[in-house]
Every structure is written in structure tokens, then in C-alpha cells.
Amino acid sequence: MSLEELPSVAEVEWQGLDKAYLRVDLIGLWLFRLGVLGVFLAYTFFAEGFPPVVRWSIAGLWVFLLLMTTVLRYLGFRIKGYAVRQHDLMYRRGLLFRSVTVVPFTRIQHSEVEQGVIERQFGLSSLSVFTAGGSQSDLVIPGLKREDAERIRNFLSQKVAADEEE
């Protein structure tokens, strides 16, 4: 078999994440950033002698960055996607800094389906895939419909069990 005949990661059909995930992602982002802003404003109002100019310019910068991040997340959403291939699981993300991660089924230790508070409101789940050793090579695919996440998880655990049988 020559190198050219290998199945190539360059010709993968990517499955996009569920559209509702964009909202989940942005709600989480805004809740957190505005929460931090609120604490900051509350603190500077009560701390004596904090110049208002500094307070409002920091707050303004914070909101500007939040808007920028929102735009990046919005544009980056269509990049995010996963692919279940014959022997491995792939995940792609990143608008400016793109990354494609591949974990072969034979190297998966176990997998979990998780659901955050905001995700639950939209019926979404995340699929976490764990490998041995450190956590660097673990993979998390967010924004899956609950049923899809369960289905992939079951498929993975069958694959992992089948590999151990061999």
C-alpha cells in the first residue's frame, strides 16, 4: 500500500454541530463576562477614590472585547464539526487557529455524555472521550443532540469492547 492510497484526513465529510449550540455557547459567554463586569463595577463603586474615567474605560474595553469574541464565536461556529470514521473520531475547531484532532477507537479508554445547565435547556449534550495518561489528548465534542451523543457513545463503547475481544 503506498502513501497515496491511505484514507486521507483531507477528504473528510464534517458533521456540523447542532445550530442551537451557537446560542448555548454565546449565552454561556455573555453570562460569564457580564457577571465578571458586574462584580468589577460593584467593587469600584464601593471602593473609595477609584477614578470613574478608569472604571468606564476598563468596562468599555471589556464590552468591546466581548463583542469581538461574539463575532469570532459566531464565525467560528461553522468551522466546528466532528466526523466518525471507520476507525477513528475526529473533531475540528478554530477560526484563526484551526486544529483537527483524531483519536483512533483502539486508543479510547472510555467515553462520557455530559450536559451543562444551559445545554439542558436546549436538549444538547457534550461527548467526552478519554485516552490513557494525561488529559492533553482527551477530546470533547460539544453541541450534540442528546440522542446523537448517546448513539455515538454506544457505538464507541461497542468498538472499544470489540477491540479488547480480539
Partner: protein, 503 residues
């Protein structure tokens, strides 16, 4: 080892020395958590104590005695034994817990001895199960012969299991032959001194500065006053100045030098490195004697490093990485500070079959690496330049020019010297400017691979590749995209097409 010879098939307690070790652990924990309070306690004892203070002190003392009692009870409620295919531990004072660790989950067993263990003539046995950090098990005190028997028994069971899975006859005659071990390397006291001199003393200096400042802050916090200020007021000669700074730096360096020397010698004292057909074993340490063993088939990657001083002596630091729980925990990897080039080759070739004959093809990384990273060196240059201009301070020109020049030289040398070597079965990288770090791993050990592309790299059809194994990772920056993808495709093909036991 026959089953009947084992005396830990029934639930049993640890050696009695465990009580002393439990108490010792407890005292250390208290001292670590509360030493500033104790300091204040000692130095303020002449003062009248208010009722609240008295109450607080009483609470502390009673709490202490209570925990001490708990430590002792903990010993009597700690049982462990081996079943046919698992290690079982029952423990807990208030909440009983039952831990069952199947042998197949156990990665390795480590026999360790700190000073107290040596005084009491016992060892501790740490059981590592990869993948689940925080769930590992330590038996604090055991007779050495028990610990060794236990380790041998568990490893033997694991091997039989593995052979049964591989379809081999577990009673094959060669298995019963005694395991022949040969001494590969032993470091004498002079060797250790030489190695100690070539260590990274700057790192130690950094740690010292950090510790001293941390200490001062904690003490100052406890006494509620600025200790440094008080010291300087009392002894004006401590006032910082150019000469004072220079002398301080000199003292710091000398102290750092001797500390690393002492640390190197005590840590690796009488280091012995053995090889058998199945694996490696390492024994080292003056106060805390450490024994690590590793099966060859579990080795994920081997890394060896030199630095300019070490190169003069022809020595490398070699670390052998296996699958570990949690993140990169150095203690569980075998690391040999002073290995000659020939010995490195021996270790590598006997760990990875066929690596001696592997036909490697070398690849360089793109010059764009330099172009991308030099921008980050230009930023401080611009800042210092602007500051110097506005403050009319010509001395700022030094960092403004120094940063990009030195940084640029470093980047250029790094890009020029980086090599990725590929053969059908092995992947090797070689990197570094002043020293050189070489990493070698069998392709089939990879458990996840990532291709990264920044917008800068996408415009130029370049990509960085990260390969992760259960024992560590390798990063190759700025490869041509075609090569990066071909590498990814090939590694995946190699991992997925054969079901080897990789861990």
C-alpha cells in the same frame, strides 16, 4: 512465587510501623499548614493571652489530639489483601471504603522508602493505575520481602493474563527460568559530582528566590508587619544598591550551585540501572531510596537531552516514559542523569525492537517559523524603544536592540536545527539551540494526533503536528501541510490497522 507462600491472601493489616508513619504524615501535614501560626505562637508567648485567644489555642490543641487519635485508629481499620485477579483495600475511620483494583488496571507497583521508612525498616508500596488520577493506592508500611513478593505476584499474574490473551501457553518453560538482570549503569560519587556541576543552576536559583519571597510574605502576613522594611531599618547595609545587588546575585549563584550539587548527589546516590529481557529497573537515592521498574513493552517514548556543559563530558540525561496516571508526573518515569552515548543507544535499541536498523528520513521545518515568531520579539523592542524615546533614556536602547537580536538568533538557530526523522515504525525529533533534545517513539504508540494551523500558516500551506502517547507528547512546528497530512494519515493507518498491545 507459589500462592501458598503468600501471606496476604487473607485481609491483613500493614506492618506496625505504619502507626509511626501515619503519625509522622499527620505531623508533617499540620506543620505544613500551620507553621506561621506556630511561629506567632512561639514568639508571642510572653504576651497576656485574651480569652478568645485561649479558646482558639485550646481548639487547635484539641483538634490536633483528635486528628492524632484518628491517625492511630486509621491503622487498625486499614486492611488489604489480594484476590485471584484484584487487589482489595478496606479502610476509613468514619466512612468505610472498599477499593477493588483489578490487576489488569494496575500499570506498575513502586517500592519506596523515605528516611522514616529506613529507620523503621519497612517500605511503602505504591500501586499505579493509569488513566484515573487520584484513585491510586499506597500501602504505607510493609516488610520489604512482603512488598517484593506482592509486586512479583501481581506482575506475574498480569503477565499470565497478557499471555493468555495473546494465546500463548502460560506454562511455557522459558517463563520459569529466573529473570536474568544485568547492570547497565552505576553512578559513582565522582560521576554524580560531575553530573551535579552540569545541572541547570539557574532553575535552582529561581526556585530559591521564589521560596525566600514566599517565606517572607507568609511570615510578614502572620506578624502583620512588613518584615523586609523592619530588617532594612535595623540594618541599613541591607539597603539595595548596585554592589549589594551584585553581591547578592553572586551569593545566590553559589548557594544555587551547591544546592543543585547536593540535591543531585542525594537524589541519585548510588544509582543502579538494570536491564532484563522484560524490562528495566532503577534504584537510587540517599535518604529516600527509590525503586522503579518498567516493562519494555509499556514504554511509550524515550527522550534524551544534553546541554553545553554535558556535551563536553559526553553525557545525556535520559528519561524513559511509560503510561502514567494524571499529567506528566516525573516521579514515575525512569530518569538517568548521566548516560554515555553508547549506553543511550543500548537502552533505546533494546526497548524498541528494530530501532537500530530503522531507516530514517530527515525533514526540516519551514523558515516561516522564524518569520512568525520574530514578531513577538519585535513587540518588546518597540515598547522599550518608545519608552526610551519619550523618557529620554538612552539606556533603554539596550533591551530594544537586545531582544530582537538575541531572540532572532535563537529562533533562527532553532528553525535551522530542528529535524523530524521518520521511518515506517519510528518517529524521532531533534531540537534545541544550546543543548539538544532527542525524542524517539514507535509510531503505533500514538493515541491521538492533532494538526494545528494558524491563519498565518494557512496562507502558506503549513501546519504544526502534535502527537500524543500515554506517556508524553511530541510537537513538530511548521511542517509543509502536505507532509503534515501524510504523517497524520500514515500514523492513523499504522495505529488502526494492527491491534497491538500498546500499554
Amino acid at each position: 512465587m507459589k500462592r501458598s507462600e503468600l501471606n496476604f491472601l487473607e485481609p491483613r493489616r500493614q506492618a506496625q510501623a505504619a502507626i509511626a508513619i501515619f503519625i509522622y504524615k499527620f505531623v508533617v501535614r499540620i506543620l505544613r499548614a500551620a507553621w506561621p501560626i506556630l511561629l506567632v505562637f512561639l514568639f508571642r508567648s510572653n504576651k497576656e493571652q485574651s480569652n478568645t485567644e485561649l479558646l482558639m489555642n485550646a481548639t487547635v490543641v484539641i483538634g490536633g489530639l483528635f486528628s492524632l487519635g484518628v491517625s492511630v485508629v486509621a491503622y487498625f481499620r486499614y486492611f488489604f489483601h489480594l484476590e485471584a485477579d484484584q487487589l482489595v483495600i478496606q479502610k476509613g475511620v468514619f466512612n468505610r471504603s472498599l477499593t477493588k483494583l483489578p490487576f489488569e488496571r494496575i500499570q506498575n507497583l513502586y517500592i519506596e522508602q523515605n528516611v522514616l521508612h529506613r529507620l523503621l525498616g519497612v517500605v511503602s508500596l505504591r500501586v499505579d493505575s493509569a488513566g484515573s488520577s487520584g484513585h491510586e493506592v499506597t500501602i504505607d508500611a510493609l516488610e520489604r520481602k512482603d512488598a517484593e513478593a506482592m509486586r512479583a505476584y501481581v506482575l506475574e499474574q498480569k503477565r499470565e493474563e497478557a499471555q493468555e490473551r495473546a494465546g500463548l501457553d502460560p506454562e511455557a518453560p522459558e517463563r520459569n527460568a529466573p529473570v536474568a538482570q544485568s547492570l547497565v549503569l552505576r553512578l559513582s560519587f565522582e560521576d554524580l559530582l560531575r553530573i551535579g556541576v552540569t545541572q541547570n543552576h539557574l532553575a535552582t536559583a529561581g526556585v530559591i528566590v521564589g521560596t525566600v519571597f514566599g517565606f517572607l510574605f507568609t511570615v510578614a502576613g502572620a506578624f502583620e508587619q512588613d518584615l523586609v522594611k523592619t530588617l532594612i531599618e535595623r540594618w541599613p547595609m541591607l539597603q539595595p544598591g548596585f554592589w549589594g545587588f551584585l553581591i547578592l546575585a553572586a551569593i545566590l549563584f553559589v548557594v544555587a550551585f551547591f544546592l543543585t550539587l547536593v540535591r543531585t548527589v542525594t537524589q541519585h546516590y548510588d544509582l543502579q540501572f538494570f536491564e532484563s529481557r522484560e524490562g528495566f529497573q532503577l534504584k537510587a537515592g540517599l535518604f529516600n531510596r527509590r525503586e522503579a521498574s518498567m516493562q519494555k513493552r509499556k514504554i511509550q517514548l524515550i527522550r534524551w537531552t544534553d546541554n553545553p556543559l554535558r556535551r563536553l563530558l559526553g553525557l545525556f540525561r535520559v528519561s524513559i516514559h511509560q503510561a502514567i496516571s494524571g499529567s506528566e508526573r516525573a516521579a514515575e518515569q525512569i530518569s538517568i542523569p548521566g548516560c554515555k552515548s553508547v549506553q543511550v543507544d543500548d537502552v533505546v535499541h533494546s526497548s524498541f525492537a528494530g530501532s537500530a536498523e530503522a531507516a530514517f528520513r530527515g525533514h526540516s521545518i519551514s523558515k516561516a517559523y522564524f518569520i512568525w515568531y520574530i514578531r513577538f520579539m519585535l513587540l518588546p523592542a518597540v515598547i522599550f524603544g518608545a519608552l526610551g524615546y519619550f523618557l529620554q533614556e538612552p539606556r533603554f536602547a539596550l533591551p530594544a536592540i537586545g531582544f530582537p537580536v538575541l531572540g532572532g538568533l535563537y529562533l533562527w538557530a532553532y528553525q535551522q536545527r530542528f529535524r523530524l526523522w521518520l521511518s515506517p515504525e519510528y518517529l524521532k525529533t531533534s531540537e534545541g539551540v544550546l543543548g539538544r533534545t532527542i525524542t524517539l517513539l514507535p509510531v503505533y504508540k500514538v493515541q491521538s494526533i492533532r494538526i494545528r494551523q494558524s491563519f498565518f500558516q494557512r496562507r502558506r500551506d503549513l501546519a504544526s503536528v502534535e502527537l500524543y502517547t500515554a506517556g508524553g507528547s511530541v510537537r513538530v512546528p511548521f511542517l509543509p501541510l502536505g507532509l503534515a497530512r501524510a504523517l497524520q494519515d500514515y500514523v492513523l493507518y499504522r495505529v488502526e490497522s494492527r491491534g497491538e498491545d500498546w500499554m
